[in-house]
Symmetry: C2
Subunit: 110 residues, 2 copies
């Protein structure tokens, strides 16, 4: 099961700056899971990528925008971002998103 | 954003029997997210499907088996199940898995 199981304590915290950090969790070529932690007020700037993304709120509150439409998200809420859709978020209360991508974000491994 | 955002309180609980329930969260054709809640001792029997799956422990403890190899999982731990790999779980302490599939599990929509 090499590489397919990931204990949380074995993940590495990467500081993305601006009050955000990322941990890469379990992944293979088809699916990659990451936790992104935000301080209150931290921003995930609008961006696009060809990968389809799912975001699930583990903790905190977020204003999340996809293709110009915004929703407020709380723990347990989830959203799909189609490939190439412009999306971004603002953290309203410190917390963490679980983001899952298909296929894997190879750019995160560099 | 029709169908792409799902507030947790708008999801529907489906009783799967044997101490397990499922909620379908946000999904599109490429990614589907579901929460599966287990009572202590409840079993997700060994099974296969062609979809690649990621399981993330939201709460509780689980013994999770993929292709005959088992690990014990706690909150924050994650695992990828390759397509067609035999997998199953036993809940050691009541809790919830977040499962994400690619592509969507159309059989869950019937």
């Amino acid at each position: 099961m090499e590489g397919l199981f990931k204990a949380h304590e074995d993940t590495v915290v990467k500081d993305l700056g601006g009050g955000t950090t990322r941990r890469i969790l379990a992944w293979n070529d088809q699916l990659m899971s990451v936790e992104v932690a935000f301080e209150t007020g931290a921003v995930g700037a609008d961006h696009t990528h060809p990968h389809t993304q799912l975001s699930y709120v583990l903790a905190g509150r977020f204003r999340y925008t996809v293709s110009g439409k915004s929703v407020e998200m709380k723990p347990g809420d989830s959203i799909v971002v189609p490939g190439n859709a412009v999306h971004g978020t603002v953290c309203l209360e410190a917390g963490t998103l679980l983001d899952v991508f298909t296929p894997a974000r190879e750019d995160f491994l560099k």
